[in-house]
Each structure stands twice: as C-alpha cells, then as structure tokens.
C-alpha cells in the first residue's frame, strides 16, 4: 500500500516521480526543503526509537544475560562475581539434588495450567454466547464480569485464602451445608491446586468472555440466516457457524492463557499466606515461577534461577511453535 504523495519527498535525489504536491507548494528555500526532507526521512526512526531502546535495555539484554548467568554461579549478595560452571545448573535441575523440586514444580505448572485454563476458556465461550443474546442490562453484566479483572492478584489471593481457610472459611461452610467436608484446602496437592485455579478462573473468565463476545459480534449475520434456512438448530448453529468463525480468536486466547499459566506466580506465592511457605509446605503447589523466585531470591542462587528462567523461556517457545503449527494446519484445512 503505497502512499503516493509521500514518495515524491522521501526519494530525495533526482526528479520526484509525482510532482503534484511540490507544485502546489510555494517554492521552498534550499535550507527549508532540505530540513523538510531530512525530517521526513529521519522522523519515523525517531518515533519508533523509544520502544526499541527500552526493549534493548530492559528486554533483549536481560534475556541474553539470563542465558549467560545460567552458566555461572552467582550469589544474590555479590552479583558482580560470577563463576563459570558450564551446564552444571541445568544438570542439577534435571538430575541433581534439586531435581526433585524442579520436576515437581514443572508438573505443578502443567496441572495448574490445565486446571485453570481449560474450564476458564470453556466457561468464557459459553458466557460470551449468552451475552450475545438480546439482554436487559447488558452493560451491567459485562462490567460485573470484568470486575475481577480490576482486582490485583495479591488482593484476590488474600481474599480467597480467607475463603479457603480451614478455620471459618466460607468454602468449608458451604460444603458443610450439603454435609460434606471440611477440606484442608491448602494442605493437599489437589485441593490446593483446585483452590488456586478457582482464583485464576475468577479473575480471567470475564475478560476472555468479552474477547469472545466481540469476535462473535463480528460474524456476518447471513451465515446464520443461511444455516437457519438449512434447518440448523441453535446448537447446530453454535457448533457449525460460531465455533469455526471464532477459531483465530480461540487460538489467540489459548496461547495468551498458556503463556500466563506458564508464568503463574502471584497466586501460589501468596496462597500459603500465614504459614510462610510460598508454594506450600510440601511444595504441593509450587510452580516454576515460585521455584525460580525461591532459588534466586531466597536461596540466593541467581545462576540456578536464571537456568530455570531459560527453561521456562524454552517451554514458551514450544507453546509458540505448537501454536504456529496448529494455525498453519487450520489455515490449510480451510
């Protein structure tokens, strides 16, 4: 998409291909036109420079530096002294003394990721479908669903830690009404991961529902009319028109949610609360993020923490790769 009038000025030497704009302008002095041309050529780079500067210093450089650090032993208290250890940090994580906790954290990240993402996105899809009906007070429903998004992870986790508290928690009281429980939510591996997933689901379902809703409203109506003429029921319309049309959006939310799930940190960090065990006394809900924080900033092993960070980065690259492959397959299937 060429913008025709511009080309006249962005190619300085030689006769400009389009002279209309130049002709309309009063003949500029040499200096002014040179300044103008210079402004024209340089300003786009000036405009995009802040982003790339910030990214280079606080994004790219730390990313590479993490890789370098992961091959060293570095103490939190003397960050300038780095001893080369080769792949020792990775070896330790995979096979050495801390490997038990590493694999545990990796497993927890996967189970927590699935527990929190899959129900969340399915619920969001259903809610978006309902929100797409003609509704009274639709503004209220949308804002109500998005309110949890305004709550910070810290505030939400503290409140839910009280809800799931073994003493006087709301969750156990509700269970007792139907004659079940009490459950010691924080203590068990499954109960604690369930509780943490509830926090994640509570915070993000409405957000995703609104994204789906916007995509649903962009689907041309004639597709539904055609389906209705063919005698498709509402459910069949949802399955055969809505879902296929939403595919790119669904893929987008799946990837974003998986990226978020891989980095899950605040909820498992704070859920143990008063016990003082981030990730649980038995590491029962310790994620890779919490493990990295613990190794780096509690146990002062910044090199090992960097190795964990790079492993997480690798995992995310795999997720991204899978996404690209799936997207390509979907596109070719069409």
């Amino acid at each position: 998409m060429a913008t025709p009038t511009r080309t006249g000025r962005s190619d300085p030497p030689g006769p400009p291909p389009t002279t209309t704009t130049q002709a309309r302008r009063p003949a500029p002095s040499g200096l002014r036109s040179r300044l103008h041309r210079w402004d024209h050529r340089v300003s786009p780079y000036v405009f995009v420079a802040p982003f790339f500067l910030v990214f280079a210093v606080f994004g790219l450089f730390p990313l590479l530096y993490t890789g370098w650090l992961s091959l060293h032993r570095v103490s939190l208290y003397n960050v300038d002294k780095a001893d080369w250890v080769g792949f020792q940090n990775y070896w330790d994580l995979f096979f050495g003394a801390p490997s038990h906790y590493f694999w545990n954290a990796l497993g927890n990240t996967v189970t927590l990721g699935l527990l929190s993402t899959v129900p969340q996105l399915l619920a969001a899809l259903g809610l978006a479908h309902l929100l797409n009906y003609k509704l009274p007070a639709r503004g209220f429903f949308r804002t109500a669903l998005l309110a949890p998004y305004a709550t910070s992870v810290a505030a939400a986790t503290l409140v839910f830690a009280l809800v799931f508290s073994p003493e006087g928690g709301m969750a156990n009281w509700l269970l007792s009404l139907v004659g079940a429980g009490p459950v010691r939510w924080e203590a068990g591996p499954w109960s604690s991961q369930f509780a943490i997933s509830v926090i994640v689901i509570w915070r993000w379902t409405g957000y995703n529902a609104l994204i789906y809703l916007a995509a649903m409203q962009a689907i041309p109506r004639d597709l539904y009319e055609a389906a209705a003429i063919d005698g498709a029921s509402r459910w069949q319309q949802f399955r055969n028109v809505t879902i296929p049309q939403l595919r790119p959006t669904i893929l987008f939310t799946v990837v974003v949610s998986f990226i978020g799930a891989t980095q899950l940190f605040g909820e498992p960090y704070l859920f143990g609360g008063q016990s003082g065990h981030q990730g649980g006394a038995d590491h029962q809900y310790e994620t890779l993020g919490v493990f990295m924080y613990d190794q780096g900033f509690h146990s002062s092993m910044l090199g090992r923490a960097s190795a964990i960070a790079w492993i997480m980065f690798g995992l995310l690259l795999l997720v991204g790769l899978a996404n690209t492959l799936i997207a390509r397959r979907l596109r070719s299937a069409k």
Partner: protein, 303 residues
C-alpha cells in the same frame, strides 16, 4: 485476525464501548431465555461476591471474620481497620503505598501512551525502509515473558543505583509492545491519509503533524490504552516484590504481599488492606468500564 467493517469508525466504537454495531451478530436477534438470564445472574453474583465479601471481612474484627457461619453483612469496624493498615501496613503504611503505586502507574501510563502514539503513527502511516521487519519485531517481543528477564533486571537496577527505588518499576515499562501495536492498529484505520497529506502540503513538520493531526484523532484510543496500562502497572506483582525487596518504599502490591505473608494474622486487617488496594481501580472501572471493555476487545481481536 478478524476483519473489521470499514463503515463503523473505530473511534466511535471505542467511545461507545460497544465493539460492534448491534445489527450484526447472531444472537443479537434472539432474546435471552430464562435459562440464559439465570446463568448470567448467577455468574455475575459469583464475580461480584468476593468483592462484597472483602468489604464484609474488612469491616469485621478478627473473631467475627472467621466465625461459623460467616458474617454476610458488613460490620462496624471498617474505618478502624482501614485506619490501621493506612498507618502500619507495608513498613510505611498503605497511604504511602497508594501514593507510590499511583506515581508508578501514572508515569508508566503517560509515557506508554506518548511513545506508543509516536511509534504507532510511524508504523501505521509513515513509509520507511525496514518498517515491516521492525513491526514484526515489535509483535514478536510481545511473546517474551517478563519472568525470563527478572534476574538480570535486578542486577541491572542495582548497578543503576535503583535498588528499592520506584524508578526500577517505571523504567522497564516506559513503553510496551502491546501499546505500540494497539496504537498502530487503531491509527491504521482511524487516521485518514488525506488529512496527513494536507498538513504536509501546508509545510508542517513531523512533530507538528503528530500534535495537530495525529493526537486529536488518536485521543479515544489514548484514553483506553492509558487506562489499560494503568491497571496493568498497578497490578504488576512479581517484579515489584523483587525490585522493592527491602520494602522501604513499597507499592500497593508489595505492601499486600507483606500483609499476606505473616505480617498480620488478623484476617480483618489483611482484607482491609486488600480492599484499600483494590478500591481505586474499582472506582476507575465503574466510571470507565465501558471504554475499558471496548479497549480490551479492540486490542485482542486484532492481535
């Protein structure tokens, strides 16, 4: 990802907060049945109840809050508890923490909006060698997770003399890839090329064009981006608890983390902290909710 009809101006859509005109969409024609309505009411209650429960807990005292059955109406201790966390939570009190968070999130939002407008405008409407490649780079950096960079960032801030300083929270997010991409998507559609040409013909230089042509058009998107960035910065958790390790000068989230990990064992105090830390954003949401909803769907749809 999804093509957007040209007839509906993005500016109008953002302002209304309704992402699409109502005539489109499938369900728009069907009225919601009682089942759909009941489900939505139930989910809304589930969404809002934890917030209400925060208020109930924060207005109780240490015994009432963990009583069985739990209290369901607010008690009379709200101002006492808030006053307590205001003075004592997070080393210097919640008041200072709120001020710090406002300062950080406000600066980050302003600078992100300003730099994103400039870069978004360049990517949307200016032609320059390397534009496509640079834009692809911007998009791909969105996938780089913050956690990967946290250890070197900590070391870097130490060297810059920003240990435990608010600047350590501001610098890394002065401008984000999301912001640049968001403004680029918006300006591509909303900014008429003829308007730019007219300004050029009048001999306006690039900065004047930005100020007098681009900014007025971009205003609704700038507001949305500013709010989204503010919320994100306000709620950021991992980097602040590392960068503000000494908690001498905590933000709201750092103060809440301290509150939740052993500083107090009184749940009414802890929830009062959560309430104070959440209230400012909830107020923003009740006022600008529709615009934020519009912004989220805009940003996501075209990602």
């Amino acid at each position: 990802m999804t093509t957007v009809p040209a007839s509906d101006s993005p500016a109008r859509r953002l302002r209304k907060g309704t992402p699409r005109p109502r005539a489109r969409g499938a369900g728009g024609q069907h009225r919601a049945g009682p089942f759909a309505l009941a489900t939505l009411i139930l989910v809304s209650v589930a969404s809002l109840f934890p917030l209400y429960w925060t208020l109930v807990a924060a207005s109780s005292d240490g015994h009432r809050v963990i009583a069985t059955p739990p209290p369901l109406v607010p008690g009379g201790n709200l101002f006492h508890n808030i006053g307590y966390v205001w003075e004592h939570a997070g080393a210097r009190g919640m008041g200072v923490a709120l001020l710090n968070s406002t300062l950080v999130a406000g600066t980050v939002a302003l600078s992100t909006v300003a730099f994103s407008v400039l870069a978004g405008f360049a990517f949307a409407k200016l032609r320059f060698p390397g534009r496509g490649a640079l834009l692809a780079l911007v998009v791909s950096t969105m996938a780089v997770p913050a956690q990967v960079s946290i250890v070197p960032l900590f070391i870097l801030m130490k060297h810059l003399g920003l240990g435990n300083q608010l600047g350590a929270l501001i610098l890394p997010t002065l401008v984000t890839a999301f912001g640049v991409f968001f403004m680029r998507q918006y300006l591509t559609q909303a900014l008429p090329t003829e308007l730019l040409e007219a300004a050029r013909v009048d001999g306006a230089n690039s900065l004047r064009v930005v100020w007098h042509v681009v900014v007025p058009v971009a205003r609704p998107a700038m507001a949305v981006l500013g709010m989204l960035t503010f919320v994100q910065s306000w709620n950021d958790f991992l980097w602040p608890i590392i960068a503000m390790n000494g908690a001498i000068n905590p933000t709201v989230q750092v103060a809440l983390a301290g509150l939740g990990t052993g500083w107090s064992t009184d749940w009414s105090i802890i929830t009062a902290g959560a309430l104070v830390g959440t209230l400012p954003l909830l107020l923003v949401f009740t006022v600008f909710g529709r615009q934020i909803v519009g912004g989220i769907t805009q940003g996501a749809l075209k990602g």
